[in-house]
């Protein structure tokens, strides 16, 4: 069997025993890529020789020694392009490593290629990429989800063992659900954002997309911890996750928030998630009905706060210092206008305009400040819910992968794809999405487990126990 089908945990053992070498893994992955990448188009940039050379130098005694990891194209990797799937960053080469990248390097990982995404992580289908669409490995007529669609499609399509993504409103979990892999959004402040090109600074978190829950824990252990370059990282000591696997959910109080089972959601998705809840119950957990009453406001709050922050975060792309610059500008204003008009895609423009509007004099109170207040209430909803349960169980996405092009003309409908993931970013909690079934047409369905802040260990233990009782994660996408 190709090494491309194995988990990090298993490959680590085989590397450590010198049974295999890192180069073998990279070579097998490149073979898979040759076979499948033409269809999937998960990568925006892939330097085969560099990956093989790094594999040759890998130190297998390190925690991720010799393990290839794909990187979402919004993380700075020294010397690499960092396009954010935008024309505006054409020609930009990162002059520094993101902290997450530096930590992967320290742990011995081999960096394998950059993955496609919605431009500046704005979108839920990866159709907003200026570098071409990515196709779902389970059905190439469908979207992989987004914005970390390239990372999810690569891992789900077995052309990457694992990948880093970023999650602002569901951008790791939703594509992970749609591509049949495990996606973890850690607690806000768990992993340094230094070097992650910001979309919405108060919501963004880096996280892993993996085949298994254990792999997710391995990557989280390597990435987590305070960073002096990121003022918002938590000061607690580094942790290693899932060192002991309980394998049991006995006594676990699993909250089922009623707001996450909504009319109009896909019936097969709802059935699969309810079955997962039953599995927890059968295995000794207690199901608790809880309510997160402010959930219906989450999308509105998110699209005010995230766009407000984005309007400032994306102001720096002006053609003055790096990236694309409009040709022959008349003056500096012309340079700004044309660089940004030519460089940004429609969804990014839409969000910059929206964010500028909600911060404008006369509108801040009605929009930005009000949204901040409601965000506080959403956070309190979660705190109250966790008083009566250990974790929350919900669907990740209201439906499986939809068809390419189906929603591109209807941004509001597109925004609904994140209806179950957005609140978690607003509250700052950790959440994991893992496969919990397939539709009749063989599309993956994702289950979301949400933990209390800094409760990653809890959700990883529960997710791992669930995974052990099922074989969804072992299913292979059609060749």
């Amino acid at each position: 069997m190709s090494l491309a089908h194995e988990s990090i945990a298993s490959l680590r053992r085989r590397l450590a025993s010198k049974e295999i070498h890192s180069r073998d893994i990279v070579r097998d992955l490149l073979q898979q890529i040759d076979a499948r990448e033409k269809t999937i188009h998960a990568y925006t940039h892939l330097d085969r020789e560099a990956a093989l050379a790094a594999a040759d130098k890998a130190n297998s005694s390190l925690p991720l020694g010799g393990i290839p990891i794909a990187i979402k194209d919004n993380l700075n990797v020294l010397g690499d392009p960092c396009t954010c799937a935008s024309k505006i960053l054409e020609g930009y080469k990162a002059p520094y490593d993101a902290t997450a990248i530096a930590r992967l390097r320290q742990a011995g990982a081999v960096l394998l290629g950059r993955t496609n995404m919605d431009e500046f992580a704005m979108g839920s289908s990866t159709e907003n990429s200026a570098l071409g669409i990515t196709r779902n490995p389970w059905d190439s007529s469908r979207i992989p989800g987004g914005s970390s669609g390239g990372s999810a499609a690569a891992v789900g399509g077995r052309i990457a063992l694992a990948a880093l993504g970023s999650d602002t409103g569901g951008s790791i979990r939703q594509p992970a659900a749609l591509c049949g892999c495990v996606g973890l959004k850690p607690t806000y402040g768990r992993i340094s954002r230094y070097g992650l090109v910001a979309f919405a600074s108060s919501l963004d978190q880096i996280g892993p997309l993996t085949r298994t829950v254990e792999d997710s824990a391995i990557l989280l252990s390597a990435l987590a911890g305070h960073d002096p370059h990121d003022n918002t990282t938590d000061l607690r000591k580094p942790e290693t996750f899932l060192t002991e696997k309980s394998g049991s959910v006995k006594g676990l109080r699993v909250g089922i928030p009623k707001e996450y089972f909504i009319p109009g959601m896909d019936a097969e998705t709802e059935a699969a998630v309810r079955q997962s809840a039953d599995w927890f119950k059968k295995n000794g957990a207690t199901l608790v009905d809880v309510s997160l009453p402010h959930t219906p406001s989450a999308i509105a709050v998110y699209y005010i706060l995230a766009t407000a922050e984005a309007s400032a975060n994306l102001a720096r792309f002006d053609g003055v210092r790096y990236g694309r610059r409009a040709a022959d500008p008349r003056d500096v204003l012309d340079l700004y206008h044309r660089t940004r008009s030519e460089g940004f895609g429609p969804e990014v423009k839409r969000r910059i305009i929206l964010g500028t509007f909600v911060l404008s004099a006369g509108y801040t109170d009605a929009y930005y400040r009000k949204a901040q207040k409601v965000r506080g209430m959403i956070r309190q909803d979660f705190e109250k819910a966790f008083a009566s349960c250990d974790l929350l169980l919900t669907p990740t996405s209201p439906e499986p992968a939809f068809k390419l092009g189906e929603r591109t003309q209807d941004p509001l409908k597109m925004y609904l794809a994140d209806v179950f993931t957005i609140s978690v970013n607003l509250a700052g909690n950790p959440a994991i999405s893992l496969p919990c079934g397939f539709t009749k047409s063989n599309l993956p369905i994702g289950l979301q487990l949400i933990g209390p802040r800094f409760g990653e260990e809890k959700i990883l233990q529960a997710a791992h126990a669930y995974e052990q009782g099922h074989d969804w994660h072992q299913r292979l996408p059609p060749a």
Binding site: L196, A198, D230, N231, S311, A315, V320, R321, V332, S360
Partner: protein, 486 residues
């Protein structure tokens, strides 16, 4: 009544002060000027994608210190905000500043009479010692510096992201002289706290002025004009003098004052329209999500409190009380802390502290010394003062000693010996000189006795000549008068 006395100016200042710190406000780059362009840069101060700010505690502490020195309330929790506008010298196209929750609020600057322009230090407005209230002090990042060439511009990012304090006054100032003293008094406090060198000519202190005029007695403010390009404290005064006269003249002609920003042209001695304010800037402030709120109440404010120095006003009071110097001398010493330290050492071992002040502030200062490196030890001035006060040398001799002291610094007692200047105060010796003088100048004696009191000067001159200038003049005067009246 002159026309200008019917009008009153209303002035408010926004003063930007570069905070002297080891590193920049949000990154580890060195905060230093004068180095080759674009040498102190990193992803953070260049605003590269993905970079994040980390606040500089030293800058926050120095801002709190400034607030404490100016009597501000220190916010227990302060916040940073983003101020959004596009400009090529601002790499992120937003500036990290403070809006709703600045570090310091309230407080004030008391106008030092001696920091008014020289020629009006005796005026009532100078002597009033008014306190100008402050609105707030906040901390932000400075922008880069643009250079404009014929067909393109260059940007030096060394200054980008260095800490900058903004001190905003209430519209309490009423004259160019007050604005002048405000800036001088503020600068003195900033220097005392070692917060900044605050030199306007080096751009370490920058000042925007808001000024309007209104008829005396009117409560409402007139239309305010903002003045820019003010590069020295005296430039601020000149610009205000011009602008106030311009506004009064316009008002008297019944013209409306435009709400605008005007640029001061120091060479032309006039202000010119830069831009009208009809399109008010919308900075779209919002809380900086990359930075946690700053807790000052968990040790930071206390650590700043420990740095509060003796304030200029306290030093002036102490100098007048303990050293007997004049208010003017106290003010000169306060404005030069190094000289003041030198003086305090000089005056430490002598009761003649005021005399030492005279020597140091008149004679010594006129040689343009560097008190921190001069080989003239401060104790020498104490010794010199003691020699004069004790009558060992007279003031003319003292001048000679001073000249010698500057030429080859050594103990004034040694100099007196070396130059053979010891004053003769022995009354029997002086008596003999006086007898000789009386004998040799019968004409003068006659004149004196006839009531021409000035005639005694010829006799004194004779004694001084005979004694080679060493005779104690006061004693000689006394002896001659008693002999002549006998």
């Amino acid at each position: 009544m002159s026309s200008s006395s019917k009008w009153e100016a209303v002035i408010g200042l926004e003063v930007h002060v570069q905070v002297r710190t080891r590193t920049k406000m949000f990154c580890g780059c060195v905060n230093q000027y004068g180095d080759p362009q674009n040498t102190h840069l990193c992803p953070v101060c260049l605003g590269l994608p993905g970079s994040l700010p980390v606040p500089n505690e030293e800058a926050i502490r120095k801002t709190i210190l400034t607030g404490l020195m100016l009597g501000c309330q220190i916010a227990p929790v302060a916040r940073f905000d983003r101020k959004n506008y596009f400009y090529p010298d601002m790499p992120k196209n937003y500036q990290i500043s403070q809006y709703d929750d600045p570090l310091c609020a309230g407080g004030g600057v008391t106008l030092d009479p001696f920091l008014f322009p020289k020629e009006i230090q005796e005026s009532d407005e100078a002597k009033a010692g008014r306190k100008i209230r402050l609105v707030r002090i906040h901390l932000e990042e400075d922008v880069a510096k643009s250079f404009h060439f014929e067909d393109r511009s260059g940007i030096d990012f060394n200054r980008a992201g260095t800490p900058l304090m903004e001190i905003v006054s209430e519209a309490d100032l009423r004259s160019p002289g007050e604005a002048f003293s405000f800036l001088g008094s503020l600068r003195q406090i900033l220097l005392a706290g070692n917060v900044s060198d605050a030199d306007m000519e080096k751009g370490q202190m920058r000042c925007d002025v808001n000024v309007s005029v209104r008829p005396v007695g009117q409560k409402e403010y007139g239309t305010k004009v903002e003045l820019k390009n003010l590069n020295s404290i005296s430039g601020v005064r000149r610009a205000l003098t011009y602008e106030i006269a311009r506004q009064i003249a316009a008002c008297e002609k019944g013209e409306a004052i435009a709400h605008e920003t005007r640029r001061w042209d120091d060479e032309a001695g006039a202000t010119f329209t830069m831009r009208t304010k009809e399109k008010a800037h919308d900075y779209r402030y919002f809380p900086e999500p990359d930075l946690l709120p700053v807790r000052t109440d968990q040790g930071l404010a206390d650590s700043a409190r420990k740095l509060v120095p003796e304030l200029p006003s306290e030093l002036q009071t102490r100098l007048a009380r303990d050293f007997g110097v004049t208010p003017y001398q106290a003010s000169v010493l306060t404005s030069d802390r190094i000289l003041c330290g030198y003086y305090e050492k000089a005056a430490a071992g002598t009761p003649n502290k005021a005399l030492v002040a005279n020597w140091i502030l008149n004679d010594f200062l006129s040689t343009q010394p560097d008190p921190s490196t001069t080989p003239v030890r401060p104790e020498f001035f104490g010794e010199l003062a003691d020699l004069v006060a004790g009558g060992a040398i007279n003031s003319a001799q003292a001048k000679k000693v001073f000249t010698e002291l500057m030429a080859s610094p050594t103990s004034p007692r040694e100099i007196v010996k070396k130059l053979g200047l010891e004053q003769i105060s022995d009354s029997s010796a002086l008596s003999a000189y006086c007898d000789e003088a009386i004998a040799a100048n019968p004409r003068s004696v006659e004149d004196y006795k006839a009531g021409k009191m000035n005639a005694i000067n010829a006799l004194k001159g004779f004694v001084m000549k005979k004694s080679q200038g060493k005779a104690n003049p006061a004693q000689v005067d006394e002896i001659l008068r008693s002999k002549l009246s006998a």
